[in-house]
């Protein structure tokens, strides 16, 4: 019998930069910020040189090139090796300049014109339009391109900016926390940057005290206070108390940051194990030692049921758990343990506020009638009751949520949920979508089903939009108005990064055609030009999502699963 063998896949089989050489690594080791790292602290399976060669790459930017854009999601940080960069502070660059799509709602007349202006040929594009907006500059790197700014002096005149010079590190918080970039940074002069992907950054933080201190300090200084302030239970604290809470807060990470890469493989596996395979944040019945807050990703909330785990709900960024348990323990209740198990749903970045700090700054004041405190206490009690309601639910009542969590549909904020008991499969929704997109439907009325529910293959406009990670031109982005994830067709270079990243296969690559119906091809290799397409929630239509609007049987909804509750009483008609 022939035995098929394969060299065991290794972590660095696919390096971040294809052209990193040993000479580059040696050169990087002379850079002060890198040379300060103690090489000996790194384990043999993960040496510093290996990280630099495989988890980092040297990227060159020409003057005017945008390095990161405000609002983008990225998974890497940058260290300036040479040159000068500018951070745009205020008022910020307009969307068009960043390669964004400007959404303009159609007028009534423009909307009506769609009736006779619709093209019969699919995916027709006006080629001249791309030429007019030549914002994209090709680079030497494979599959990479930069969006550049055309009038840098004018930008410097109109905006308040700050300079970043040699040795500056930026982008690490957004990369590690999977949060949007908070500012746009562009190259003022030709610049050379070391781009470190999050895996390498994580190792730097893990094995080097200096980088850890730097990253944590920056997070505490720039983001943690704002995060705590935005959390209801801490919102009433004064600046001094809040700072004390921030100083004591611990950072914890669970699961895999790039969960989407293994999502489909996991879906094919036996799912009866459910939460059992996920990294545990806290066990049901465990001693409550602090309030757990979700900073990024999702956490599954479940309880033991028979031989398995019953999923009750999930926590997303900004949610917290444990306040009620801690409070009861503080009041003297004995044997107070966590009522539920929290596990990382793919990936979860947590903040743990230790019980002592909570007792000092929260519980000591909860009996007072100070402004803001009463609301916090009332809200915490309401949340606690809500959780108890979830616990008391029957398996049947919670089955839809269980399914939505298992299949990670909870990531969606606008999942297309179809009630198959009402859907007559007339495809009016698909036709309406097509009519609103120049004859090209942007979803497929097909998808995973559970009982009488189907989540169709339409972009869910995810809370954690992994599709946006790695887009070289920022063509796929979250709209500042409305929050939907949209693609700028003008700056999409057809690299397929977003389509490959979307775990739900809701982005489709299409070959575009000219007005005559001929495929538009690349003159160099004669291959058709591709563009990424997906549901844009009919951002430019006056009627809103055409699919929902067109359903004659009221069978379709765009939903956020956590806010979804089935109203069985109204199913008679």
């Amino acid at each position: 019998m022939t035995v098929t063998t394969q060299v065991r896949p290794q972590r660095w089989d696919q390096p971040f930069g294809l052209f990193m050489t040993d000479q580059d690594v040696e050169r990087l080791l002379t850079v002060p910020e890198i040379s300060a790292i103690e090489e000996s602290k790194f384990p043999t399976h993960c040496p510093l040189k290996g990280i630099l060669k495989n988890d980092a790459r040297i990227v060159k930017y020409s003057a005017g090139d945008i390095v990161i854009r405000e609002g983008d999601y990225g998974n890497s940080a940058f260290l300036v090796l040479d040159g000068s960069l500018k951070v745009v502070l205020f008022p910020g660059l307009p969307g068009e300049m960043l390669g964004r799509r400007t959404i303009r709602k159609k007028s009534l007349w423009q909307a009506l014109k769609q009736l006779w202006n619709q093209r019969k040929i699919p995916e027709v594009r006006d080629v001249k339009r791309y030429g007019l907006q030549a914002l994209v500059r090709e680079t030497n790197d494979l599959g990479a391109a930069h969006v550049f700014l055309q009038d840098v002096p004018a930008i410097l005149d109109k905006n308040k900016t700050a300079s970043l010079g040699k040795g500056a590190l930026f982008g690490e918080l957004a990369a590690l926390g999977r949060t949007p970039r908070t500012a746009t940074i562009f190259a003022e002069t030709d610049a050379e940057l070391l781009e470190i992907r999050w895996q390498g950054l994580r190792e730097f933080r893990k094995y080097d005290q200096g980088w850890r201190r730097l990253i944590d300090k920056r997070y505490r200084a720039n983001a943690l206070n704002a995060h705590l302030r935005a959390t209801s239970i801490f919102s009433h604290l004064n600046d001094e108390d809040l700072q004390e809470v921030a100083d004591a807060t611990l950072f914890e990470t669970y699961g895999k940051f790039d969960w989407h890469l293994t999502y489909n493989k996991l879906q094919a596996q036996d799912k009866t194990q459910g939460a059992k395979d996920e990294p545990v944040i806290v066990h049901q019945g465990a001693y409550a030692d602090g309030i757990l807050m979700v900073r990024g990703g999702f956490a599954r909330v479940s309880i033991d049921r028979g031989n398995g785990q019953q999923t009750l709900t999930y926590l997303g960024a900004g949610d917290f758990y444990g306040a009620d348990e801690l409070f009861r323990a503080w009041q003297g209740d004995t044997n107070v343990g966590m009522r539920v198990t929290l596990t990382a749903l793919g990936y979860a970045e947590m903040l743990r506020v230790p019980s002592k700090i909570v007792e000092k700054h929260l519980f000591a004041h909860w009996s007072s009638k100070r402004d803001g405190v009463r609301e916090v206490v009332a809200q915490t009690s309401a949340e606690s009751r809500r959780l108890q309601d979830f616990i008391d639910r029957t398996l049947t009542d919670g089955a839809l949520m269980e399914w939505a969590v298992e299949d990670r549909f909870v990531n969606g904020t606008q999942a297309m949920l179809i009630n198959l008991d009402r859907c007559v499969r007339c495809d009016d929704c698909v036709r309406a979508c097509s009519a609103a997109h120049d004859g090209n439907p942007r979803f497929i009325r097909h998808g995973k089903t559970f009982e009488n529910w189907m989540v169709a293959n339409a972009c869910m406009h995810c809370a954690d939009p992994v599709c946006m990670i790695g887009c070289p031109t920022g063509a796929i982005h979250r709209s500042m108005s409305g929050g939907m994830v949209i693609i700028n067709d003008d700056t999409c270079i057809g690299c397929e990064t977003c389509a490959n990243s979307c775990p739900y296969s809701n982005i489709r690559m299409v070959s575009i055609r000219d007005e005559a119906g001929q495929f538009i091809t690349d003159p160099q290799n004669q291959k058709p030009i591709l563009k990424a397409t997906k549901c844009d929630l009919c951002a430019d239509q006056i009627s809103g999502p055409a699919c929902v609007f067109a359903c004659p049987h009221d069978a379709m909804r765009r939903v956020d699963f956590r806010e979804t509750e089935l109203d069985e009483n109204t199913s008679r008609f």
């Binding site: 909307a111 006056i542 009627s543 929902v548 004659p552 109204t570």
Partner: protein, 275 residues
């Protein structure tokens, strides 16, 4: 957010109540005209024509999904309620008696067939979706031929493998004699429409007939063929029901168009010769 499954009962009863009130008011009006020695059919005819035009607009609305003209579900509800209302108005207009002339009789027949087709569609749209869900499969109508071809290919490959591995042609012969017919195209259309289990029975029967002529290895192949046959049965079920769900409109809409055309001509004649 609560997902309201379907139309709110309050809205449905509200629309029905309004339709009933509308009919009663129209009726009272015609009585009043009659007492004043007028022609009540003019009044009921005008109202009937208005409602007919309104319910016919639903088809137009479907093509204008990008205009903010209220959700299609509301239009559908109004269309359905309006459809029942025109039945009563038609009865009022014709005074409960059928017209005597050929044109009027043709219009009446077309009107009733259109109404019946609408009601049949309404019933199908109410009951078939749930049956499709309960089938345990979900398939896009346009993909059915492809799905069936794939199943057929898999079955034939199983049959060939069985012959090659066991050296016996029993399964292959039975396939050619009987099962091939089943896998060729959608079958048991009528029984699927009426919800009978004939196809399930047939498939099981054909497999049972063969079973005792097979050895253990061949039975394993037959089991796999049976699983594929079951899969095909579900697709056949979808084919039958989805075909009806899609095609009833091909009867309803042309008939409605014919009724509207005849109503227009009827109106012209009335305006020219009677007014």
């Amino acid at each position: 957010m609560k997902i309201h499954q379907g139309f709110s009962p309050a809205r449905v009863w509200g629309y029905l109540g309004f339709a009933a009130l509308f009919f009663l008011v129209t009726w009272a009006w015609t009585i009043q005209i009659d007492r004043a020695l007028g022609i009540p059919a003019f009044a009921s005819g005008c109202v009937l024509f208005g409602i007919l035009v309104f319910i016919a607009l639903f088809s137009m609305r479907k093509r204008l999904s990008f205009l903010p003209l209220a959700p299609a579900s509301r239009w559908f509800l109004l269309h359905s309620v309006g459809g029942f209302l025109v039945l009563f108005l038609f009865w009022l207009h014709t005074d409960g008696v059928g017209p005597k002339g050929f044109y009027g009789q043709l219009l009446t027949v077309l009107f009733y067939i259109t109404s019946l087709s609408g009601m049949a569609g309404l019933v199908m749209e109410k009951f078939y979706p749930r049956q499709l869900t309960c089938s345990g499969a979900e398939v896009i109508y346009e993909r059915i031929p492809g799905e069936l071809a794939e199943i057929r290919e898999q079955v034939e490959s199983q049959v060939l493998n069985c012959t090659e591995e066991t050296g016996s042609s029993t399964l292959a012969e039975h396939y050619l004699e009987t099962l091939k017919w089943y896998f060729q195209k959608p079958r048991f259309f009528m029984s699927n429409i009426f919800g009978s289990h004939l196809s399930q029975h047939w498939v099981r029967q054909q497999c049972m007939i063969l079973e005792r002529f097979l050895d253990e290895k061949e039975r394993a192949y037959l089991d796999r063929v049976y699983i594929l046959a079951e899969k095909k049965r579900k697709i056949d079920f979808h084919y039958a029901l989805q075909t009806l769900l899609k095609t009833w409109l091909l009867v309803h809409i042309p008939l409605a168009g014919a009724v509207m055309a005849m109503v227009f001509w009827h109106l012209i004649l009335i305006l020219v010769f009677f007014v």
